[in-house]
Subunit: 283 residues, 4 copies
Amino acid sequence: MKISILIHCPDKAGIISAVTGFIQSYGGNVIYLDQHVDKEANVFFMRLESDFEQSRFNLINFKSEFENTLAKPYLMEWSIDTDEKKGKMALFVSKYNHCLYDLLSRFKSGELNVEIPFILSNHNDLRDIAEQFNIPFYHIPISKETRKEAEQEQLQLLKDNHVDFIVLARYMQIVSSTVISKFPNKIINIHHSFLPAFAGAKPYHAAFERGVKIIGATSHYVTKELDAGPIIEQDVTTVSHSHSIRDFIAKGRDLEKIVLSRAVKLHLQGKTMVYNNKTVIFS
Amino acid sequence: MKISILIHCPDKAGIISAVTGFIQSYGGNVIYLDQHVDKEANVFFMRLESDFEQSRFNLINFKSEFENTLAKPYLMEWSIDTDEKKGKMALFVSKYNHCLYDLLSRFKSGELNVEIPFILSNHNDLRDIAEQFNIPFYHIPISKETRKEAEQEQLQLLKDNHVDFIVLARYMQIVSSTVISKFPNKIINIHHSFLPAFAGAKPYHAAFERGVKIIGATSHYVTKELDAGPIIEQDVTTVSHSHSIRDFIAKGRDLEKIVLSRAVKLHLQGKTMVYNNKTVIFS
Amino acid sequence: MKISILIHCPDKAGIISAVTGFIQSYGGNVIYLDQHVDKEANVFFMRLESDFEQSRFNLINFKSEFENTLAKPYLMEWSIDTDEKKGKMALFVSKYNHCLYDLLSRFKSGELNVEIPFILSNHNDLRDIAEQFNIPFYHIPISKETRKEAEQEQLQLLKDNHVDFIVLARYMQIVSSTVISKFPNKIINIHHSFLPAFAGAKPYHAAFERGVKIIGATSHYVTKELDAGPIIEQDVTTVSHSHSIRDFIAKGRDLEKIVLSRAVKLHLQGKTMVYNNKTVIFS
Amino acid sequence: MKISILIHCPDKAGIISAVTGFIQSYGGNVIYLDQHVDKEANVFFMRLESDFEQSRFNLINFKSEFENTLAKPYLMEWSIDTDEKKGKMALFVSKYNHCLYDLLSRFKSGELNVEIPFILSNHNDLRDIAEQFNIPFYHIPISKETRKEAEQEQLQLLKDNHVDFIVLARYMQIVSSTVISKFPNKIINIHHSFLPAFAGAKPYHAAFERGVKIIGATSHYVTKELDAGPIIEQDVTTVSHSHSIRDFIAKGRDLEKIVLSRAVKLHLQGKTMVYNNKTVIFS
């Protein structure tokens, strides 16, 4: 039986020894360990995987003793995952199809260990693609008048489908603060600039206007402050004076696809941890 | 005899034909041509190089007819360079030595076709390096009280040495607006972030704080607005949660060196043109 | 009316002037010009676009006078394209679906100005995807015994569908020399290494074995020598000791997709020219 | 007191627990741990750092018990470093100065925690630079006739100066197999291509000839087979048809400098481990 443990706590002497010794005492074999200390914030982070002989291992005892022996004295926040159950990922889109196509192609190829219960959009444009990949599509238009109702519909859909996390695959709407608070560090957005440069609307236009020689894309967890959540992944590509805004947009599409898909994979693998509005990305 | 011509003017039909035809009529042979149209601003840019038979070519006539036949009707701003005279580059530094070492090593290796009449600093720390490379070093401290005097000393030095352009190789002072106005698009700065992100002081600290996964460096012409001048060159490198601010600074040093040296080379080769606070970089 | 002209010829004085002057004499307005001289091989390359007033422009006369006045004396090889007719692109695949999905998504999004008359495979695995995108799929298995017949079937399909060029989107078979000779510089392959390193089979395994810190992908025109044709586009990504061969393959997939799609776009836009087994890529 | 431990051994259950438990039993506090398992070769690698209370810690006992309790049963190869003693690095150069300037500038800036007892060259060209930085310079010319003697002189110099490792900063000679065998995984070379492409002489010429779109540099440990030793670090930059061989060389210089200096730093920090002609690079 393989379990993986995620921990963060105030940094202190002996945490690694204590945790690996504890696992050893249960007959476990640590097969992977990655740790990090944020010296500014004095916080210790660790992810480890361990094998146990199924017959002799009792997870409930393990967890309760872990809580008492380690978590309490070291003030740990922790989680233990025991299997590779598939997460349920909802996709929110608007009119751009490149990120949607990219995620669905990867999903169809078996690259993403996930279920996609539905695709939700404030427009009807991408319904065809949902049908092409046999995934339920919900069209929930949003206007000033219907905003509250739309939010309720979204929340109901998310609940009915037991959604674990949401991916905004170029969803051109602001997610309501109620949805955000129900999915803390569980909503992944792709922004089409190297944040913090060019937050907000029309970043390619702003980048063109400024005459930058590099454009980027940033995937981050959504928080209530627009485009200011913890960054999961970024990448960039070069541009020159010879590129028009259309060229920026076309080059950017390829960045957005790849940066978003990397972030989704990291999240799915449990390799991201959020602290102080920043991420630790385990190897 | 080889001349190179730089032009920008409102875009219009027939400019390339007109210019190359004109050169042909003087017996010239165009050996390189790079042009660009900024369709947003409706501006045409061109750089070309042409060979002429020395014996039959009169530069003064050529220039005056160029002015009358082409520049006036097409409303061109233009310049013609006829030889490879070395530019005179003043270096302004403070306490960091990496960009200075890099530029001086390239200079000493013959990589930069330039003269360096002097190095100027508001501190004395880097005098040794100037001496190591046999270049005059002027220490002009700057305080609130001496700011005006210091500016005068700077201007005098620049004038006495017939300086063509200034490179701020991590000069940790704001250049006075008088100096800027005397050297429009002739002062090259290196800023240690991918502008427009993290303009101003301590960009690595700000980048660390924000939790970015990419840091950068930007070389730009200095204008009166801080860190907002036309960008010549940018580059980036990846960072992760495991990097401290010290690591950011160390990784950044290598970026700063290379981005600044690329910008200096482009400037020296006459391959940069500024328009609307942006650069056109010719190939 | 807009035409674009591609030229290569021995380098000589005055070619740019001669061509732009000729266009001017027909009332044309050169709106884009990119030229290059390979000084080792002494060859001149140029791509230009020009506008003409439709009413006064006779293409047949233009071409015939171009041939007599310019092409013959300068020994030019040249082509003139007058419209944006869509090319016909055949896709050859085997079992991997990532490049196919990527190209079809781009096609469906209108990113590629092309027709796809059919997808051909030596396996049946990807038929579903062809159907999902409503494109005819032909399964032509290849064995030692059927190789000749299969080649005939391929040639017939290519001919019947007036195919302009072929993209090998991870086609795991060697294309027959007859097909290659009928499509010179018209077959685009994606090889999963930074050529010339790791040509041939299983490049990710070889890269892993060698312990490289960077892996790559290369798109090139197919010639009779395996993996040795003119390179159109390359890109790389970093790897480390912590990556397994599976990780190399997964990271590589994203490279392959993007490198192949960039090469296909350059080919479609007529921006590639082949000389001495190398490409000139116009801007 | 801080010690760092490097280990590799056949992979087996419980190594991490055993080692961290052992350290704990000595009152140690593990402050950093990075491990890796090469699943192909079934080898376990680990680097860790631990703090001990100086007063209660006996290094000799620790080492001997480590050997008996851990190293023997687990068949470990291991080393323990207890302080930050400076390594002694000899520099071998020929005529190119860019890597030499770069390393000496970093050395002078305090970036490299190292002593440089001497610079050795088969030419006299770079003596000035050695003098500029006050480092002894030995000119040992090499010809067919003097090869044996030169080797003896080299060995004597290396011995007299207690050299720990050698950096070939564009040393254009083959290092003798005797020197190599006395410095196993202790000679760092910079090769000006992305190995294994373009091993051997004149890689930029070969890259130009092949028409690649990317060039690279590779730093590796020297083994008896030319350019085939374990790769420490690689990086690349883009090129195009418009670049001449001279341009390749100029762009390559910047790559060589940075790749070599990164490799030297990793070696100095004890973050490299060699196995099966590959490196593990610890974070």
